[in-house]
């Protein structure tokens, strides 16, 4: 943090504050400014020009400036139930996907921690390895599996289990599969790192005091790894809500999500203000609560586990 007294940091602008300042500067320019621009556009009017929105600041004459806030975009979001419905759907899909990630990712992380050091490195590599391939190719490869003429349908028909191809794609389930598949590493890695920090003798103490392995897991290991679970859940849940690629590729016209609506408002309807308003609402209703929940969760765990993080 920068020193609080302005006059001191003016004269003692030390190297350390410069280094600490760089990320703040980065966040200011590439995060806060875009957000403010987004906020500005969300109050503008849609007009046919380049860029396709009206300026909210107008000079009436040389001395008077006028700020016009157009709330029509926000009203539209609440009056047309398409938006609320889509929003709810997106949240439900994201939550289900994050939960599925947790159910798959936790045992994976646990298995990695329990394996021998050599094998552990290989398994960790395997978790990270998919990142080396293009994200789009990985999602498209699911099309090869799930398409009506895809591998799964072909195999099932060849085996005579079905005679009509199943509709494996073009539904919310396929979208969730895609999300779970792509975001799984974000669940595994934080859980792995929190499991790895648990002192093995604490687990042994639980056995020693009469816990079966199952009981020891639920009464000691799981509570001590909650920090990783919370981080993993946020890392999957948050980006999954705004997910655009998965519903576009693995879904069909019926799988409408918030990400797709933003896209179509932006590019099909050329309604930048509505798209911006949607984004702002997402920040308010999703990003903010989750961040607050996550922050609270972490500080609660800090208190519980006595981890004093140095700022």
């Amino acid at each position: 943090m920068l020193p609080k007294k302005v006059n001191t940091w003016k004269f003692h602008f030390r190297g350390s504050s410069l280094i600490v300042g760089v990320p703040y500067f980065w966040l200011l320019v590439f995060f806060l400014c875009p957000c403010l621009i987004l906020l500005k556009i969300s109050f503008a009017d849609s007009v046919l020009q380049i860029p396709p929105y009206s300026n909210i600041l107008k000079w009436i004459n040389d001395n008077v400036a006028q700020l016009t806030f157009n709330f029509a975009n926000y009203r539209l979001l609440f009056t047309d139930d398409l938006y609320v419905r889509t929003f709810t759907t997106s949240v439900v899909i994201a939550a289900n996907s994050a939960f599925a990630c947790l159910l798959i990712g936790y045992p994976m992380a646990y298995a990695i921690v329990r394996s021998r050091p050599k094998i552990r490195m290989i398994l960790l590599m395997l978790i990270v390895l998919p990142f080396w391939t293009s994200f789009l190719i990985r999602v498209y490869s699911w099309v090869i599996l799930l398409a009506p003429t895809g591998l799964i349908n072909k195999a099932l028909m060849y085996l005579g289990i079905i005679d009509q191809p199943l509709k494996l794609m073009g539904n919310y389930c396929a979208v969730a599969i895609g999300i779970v598949y792509t975001y799984l590493p974000f669940m595994v890695l934080p859980i792995y790192s929190s499991l790895e920090k648990i002192d093995n003798s604490v687990v042994e103490a639980a056995y020693d005091l009469g816990c079966t392995p199952t009981k020891a897991f639920f009464s000691v290991i799981l509570p001590l790894s909650m920090r990783g679970v919370a981080t993993g859940f946020s890392l999957v849940f948050m980006p999954a809500i705004g997910e655009y690629v998965m519903p576009e590729i693995l879904g069909d016209v019926s799988t409408v999500t918030i990400g797709r609506i933003v896209w179509s408002e932006f590019f099909t309807n050329l309604s930048w203000p509505v798209a911006s308003a949607l984004s702002v609402m997402m920040i308010i209703f999703v990003a903010l609560p989750v961040t607050l929940w996550y922050g609270g969760q972490q500080s609660r765990l800090n208190k519980k586990l006595n981890i004093h993080e140095k700022v």
Partner: protein, 382 residues
């Protein structure tokens, strides 16, 4: 106080052939990738003992303890606790509890929850759990800290909670893995005595692992010295110190002067040893086992049993040496004199500081005479 409720109901049960060992370790071996961490160990521990496994790190003492707890399974051999074979019994079904070196308290639970944890696993009624938790916390004098979290406690307090958490289960056998290693010296000494008192009060058999010989000497009823996965000697602290059975034990426990030589003469109960280290005289040493003339032996003598004086002792034909004080290590209560003999060998002598340092009769570079009684030296053949 219950006067003289000795922690051993019988005095020295290991001498009683009728007495059945409470913990019986039979031919235990533990292999790790071909090398034996514990090598054919046989050991009997009796009810109510405070037995200490003493050895350097890597000697296998912790592995042995972990096998008793059930965290490691022996490669061969058996462990019996109170007559029951422990083979294949997992740690959570053993009548054993362990106090870990790191204490291993559950960081997400407070003191009360930590201590109650083991009883909850037994599914005891709430009221009974509370009562027993309170009792044991009173025993370790931590009743006022019930609601604290482990990180809010000092090292010594955590150690007490770890002990309480194990004791509350009323195990048949309590295992302690270097229980005091994480405490500073003063606190360690205080806790040693407390631990012995608690052990006497609860009457549970303790097996403790330690690398600190002083700690083992202070606390243990018997000590087992371990090296390279084997138990070399088992005995009371006095036996271990006064009658070590080999050079390793005599060197490991306390300081010692060692003279190697040949047996040149045999008298009844005594042997005369000629050593190249001692020029002035032969060594006379009392022994119980017979040593053949010409055998290679070592004679060990503790520094505090070597008398140092500035005047030669009259009519002494054996165990005499003359040298120059090369160094004096002042330890407050005693001083250790490093006496260099004419042939360059150093003999250590410890003497109580009867005088203040300035009036000390023996100073650096003084010529001194050393002597010890044949009864005080130890003849070692191994």
């Amino acid at each position: 106080m219950a006067a003289k409720s000795r922690h051993l109901n019988k005095i020295e049960p290991w001498h009683d052939p009728e007495e059945r060992p409470y913990v019986y370790i039979e031919n235990i071996t533990k292999d790790y990738d071909g090398s034996a961490a514990v090598d054919e160990v046989n050991l009997s521990v009796y009810q109510g003992e405070l037995f200490s496994l003493l050895g350097k790190s890597g000697c296998g003492k912790s592995t042995l303890l972990r096998m008793l707890a059930g965290f490691e399974m022996p490669s061969s051999g058996k462990i019996y606790i109170d007559g029951i074979d422990m083979s294949g019994i997992p740690p959570y079904r053993r009548p054993v509890s362990m106090v870990f070196q790191s204490y291993a308290l559950f960081p997400h639970m407070n003191v009360e929850q930590n201590v109650a944890f083991g009883l909850k696993q037994e599914k005891l009624p709430r009221s009974q759990i509370n009562e027993r938790v309170d009792d044991v916390l009173e025993l370790v004098q931590m009743l006022d800290f019930k609601k604290r979290k482990p990180h809010q406690l000092s090292g010594g307090q955590r150690q007490r909670i770890a002990l309480a958490r194990s004791l509350v289960k009323r195990p048949k056998l309590l295992l302690l893995d270097e229980p005091l290693a994480a405490l500073d010296k003063k606190l360690r000494e205080k806790t040693q005595l407390e631990l012995v008192n608690i052990q006497e009060e609860v009457g549970i058999t303790f097996i403790m692992v330690s690398h600190d010989q002083e700690e083992a000497m202070t606390m243990a009823s018997r000590i087992g010295i371990m090296a390279d996965g084997r138990i070399i000697q088992v005995g009371t602290p006095t036996e271990i110190y006064e009658y070590p059975n080999c050079k390793y034990v005599s060197n490991f426990v306390g300081a010692i002067n060692m003279f190697e030589g040949l047996v040149v003469e045999e008298e009844e109960n005594y042997a005369i040893v000629r050593s190249s280290v001692l020029d002035d005289s032969d060594i006379k040493v009392e022994h119980s086992a017979s040593a053949a003339i010409g055998a290679n032996v070592s004679v060990a003598i503790r520094p505090e049993k070597v008398v140092i004086s500035k005047t030669p002792l009259k009519e002494r034909n054996y165990n005499c040496a003359k040298g120059v004080v090369q160094d004096i290590i002042y330890l407050g209560d005693v001083s250790i004199y490093h006496v260099e003999l004419a042939n360059g060998h150093i003999v250590y002598s410890t003497a109580t500081n009867l005088f203040r340092i300035a009036e000390r009769p023996i100073q650096w570079d003084d010529e001194v005479y050393l002597y010890w009684l044949p009864e005080n030296a130890i003849l070692l053949t191994a």
